[in-house]
Symmetry: C2
Subunit: 411 residues, 2 copies
């Protein structure tokens, strides 16, 4: 690969590269009997790697299974007191080798090491760009600026556009695809372009259309207040794909969207007591009914604002119809919680952005983060509003996004 890259260069450039190579001088030494310090080249900052971690990640054939890219070291007998006893550098191969107190020898390329540096800055970059892109929160008034549009055809055929769509979805939690065909297979094809549909109690694809005597609140033409879908699942579906096949002629039927993380930001900043309550009190979310003749009784207990161990938002739950009448909290918590929740709802309504999708639009948004709703509409038999939906999971989307990023890097 390196040879290939040289081909297109002038002799002059080649000389410069060769000269630069001479300046490089990897050095490595053992520190405190346990760590290995590597200086990739003179005057560059040294990187420290814990010996135990290096030994654990030895890439030789005995310790690492190449085709599955996974560790096969015998961990049942792994000794955490292992120590590096000798380090060598190989300038030409740009790698170091470490001899261990058990006589095993490991080799690591400089690039491999640099990519796994324990420097805080490098770790931050890896986590915020490659692991899961940092989210950017927005208010309703900023919607037009942050909401990106992509052409359905380009998403389906160009990896770079697919990557941009998924990146927008990860960062802003919403993106719109336009110009999709009007057949019912669009959401499946789109989901399979990413990975596969996340199935729920309601099946894989679902149709949102007014149904008389509906079992689910969403299947009525009434206004649908802001909510997240399926809060009653521990494993809540991550991303909503809503393909507009037919839009109503009536003035209604608009979508409403709110960034739940933005509302959480406001509460955290301006109403810390409400924030504390809404991120601590466990609410019972539920769905009782039947679909295709099979009964279900879903319950999941979680706060409205869920935080991870580092205090970051991991999920927002909100749904008027799917909040259980069972509320398993001490009596004294009830009224204060209702007051905090009512504030959350008021703030969300005030911040919501309304817009109406057109046939061929595919609205995609993060169901872990955004609240969505729908204005009521007056359906005619001539053009009954017809939306086909499906879910995708973040596990699958991020995996795809990482593969695309790695591939783009290599090009």
């Amino acid at each position: 690969m390196w040879v290939q890259k040289l081909v297109g260069r002038s002799l002059n450039q080649v000389k410069t590269i060769n000269a630069a190579q001479f300046c490089r001088q990897i050095s490595a030494r053992i520190v405190n009997k346990t760590n290995v310090e590597v200086q990739p080249q003179k005057n560059e900052k040294s990187l420290t790697f814990p010996g135990v971690w290096l030994r654990d990640n030895c890439l030789c054939e005995d310790c690492f299974h190449g085709s599955s890219k996974s560790r096969k070291l015998d961990w049942d007998n792994f000794d955490t007191r292992i120590q590096p006893v000798e380090v060598k550098t190989d300038e030409a191969a740009k790698e170091i080798s470490v001899k261990w107190s058990d006589n095993h020898v490991s080799r690591f390329s400089l690039n491999w090491l640099k990519n796994r540096s324990f420097e805080e800055e490098r770790q931050k970059e890896y986590l915020q760009e490659f692991y899961r892109p940092t989210t950017r929160h927005w208010s309703g008034s900023e919607f037009q600026e942050i909401a990106r549009h992509f052409k359905y055809d380009e998403v389906m055929t160009q990896d770079s556009v697919l990557m941009e769509w998924l990146q927008s979805l990860a960062v802003y939690g919403v993106a719109l695809l336009r110009g999709a065909p009007l057949d019912e297979g669009v959401v499946r094809r789109l989901a399979e372009r990413v990975g596969f549909i996340r199935r729920t109690t309601y099946g894989e694809e679902f149709v949102v259309q007014a149904k008389p005597g509906a079992q689910n609140f969403a299947y009525l033409s009434l206004p649908l207040p802001l909510h997240t879908d399926l809060p009653y699942y521990e494993y809540k579906p991550s991303v909503n794909i809503l393909h507009c096949v037919v839009q109503t002629d009536s003035p209604g039927g608009s979508n409403m969207l709110v960034d739940g993380f933005h509302i959480a930001d406001i509460l955290r900043r301006e109403h810390p007591e409400d924030f504390e309550r809404l991120s601590r009190v466990l609410v019972d979310w539920n769905d009782i009914g039947s679909e295709d003749g099979r009964e279900f009784h879903n319950i999941w207990r979680a706060p409205v604002i869920c935080l991870d161990s580092e205090g970051r938002y991991s999920r927002v739950n909100h749904s008027v119809p799917q909040r259980d009448s069972h509320f398993n909290v001490p009596l004294s918590e009830v009224l204060p919680w209702y007051e905090s929740y009512a504030r959350f709802v008021r703030l969300a309504i005030a911040d919501s952005h309304a817009f109406k999708t057109q046939p061929g639009d595919v609205l995609t948004f993060n169901n872990i983060r955004l609240l969505h709703g729908r204005a009521g509409y007056d359906d005619s038999e001539v053009s009954p509003r017809y939306i086909v939906g499906a879910y995708l999971d973040w596990d699958i989307i991020y995996s795809r996004l990482r593969v695309l990023k790695k591939r783009a890097e290599r090009q």
Copy 2:
């Protein structure tokens, strides 16, 4: 239904019931202008219900959508300062009615209220028996006592046996079905008896059989050290279903199981520093490869022992091949973490219980909680070990279990 139940009783019993009814005397009053106190009958303890909660859960046609069993109250304009102004009891209908400061009137049956009592004991019972049964942890030496066996046919045809199987799985995290046919459709039929298969990167059903040049470590005949499946998913598949179609003739191929929650209990009690580290330090779990020509790059960061906001175990992660070489923690955390992790691994190995499934056995266990492994085996071409697997999610299993419990209660 009540009438029906009376039919089989003697006149004497009917008289007793009638006499008991006369003793009942519901009473209800408003307390502190906000709460409603209900005494179901004389000399019985009163139950207190917050007014705001009662109003929120009004069951009239304007506030509640019967066929979808969900709230349709206009929450966009809900006033948390609502107050009860008058309460009445209806002895015959066994219900109370509440008139509100907005003139709305709500009616609640005594049974409905009792089931939603804010008494701590009632809430505990509801949560520990109906919401998610309390887990009971076990050591390897207790395996024979706790591991229940069920007949596959009975699970497939009798709801009571299906319920017992799922309850065992919920409480102990493991159960064995016996006498299943030897066709490849068993895991699907079983999963569909509960709900539906949880799909992963590796598809719906998967086959575990030694494959030359395997992309995944599980597809080798080497020993497979203790691990949990797919720790690199945020939404980790919940329950493993492993159907033994052909078992190896060699002495190997045994399954090993360990209750990860039991190991966590030991650490919490005897090695609190290790417990603290293993439940706090985020580990990068990963899987890089391709399946059916589609590349994936899965990563999820989570501790080995995951705790919920109440300090209960929500998940255990452990997998030697699927722990990433990227380890995004400060340098100073590395060696201590390795030492704590090595202790966890040693304790798990020491506590593991080995047994060999036979053709027709279906081993089912909680992948969120148990570690499983496999002894190596020497496969012959005459009887290549052949296991078909699939996953089920707890959301779906608990839903089914609740439906079965409700149904059993009604009978």
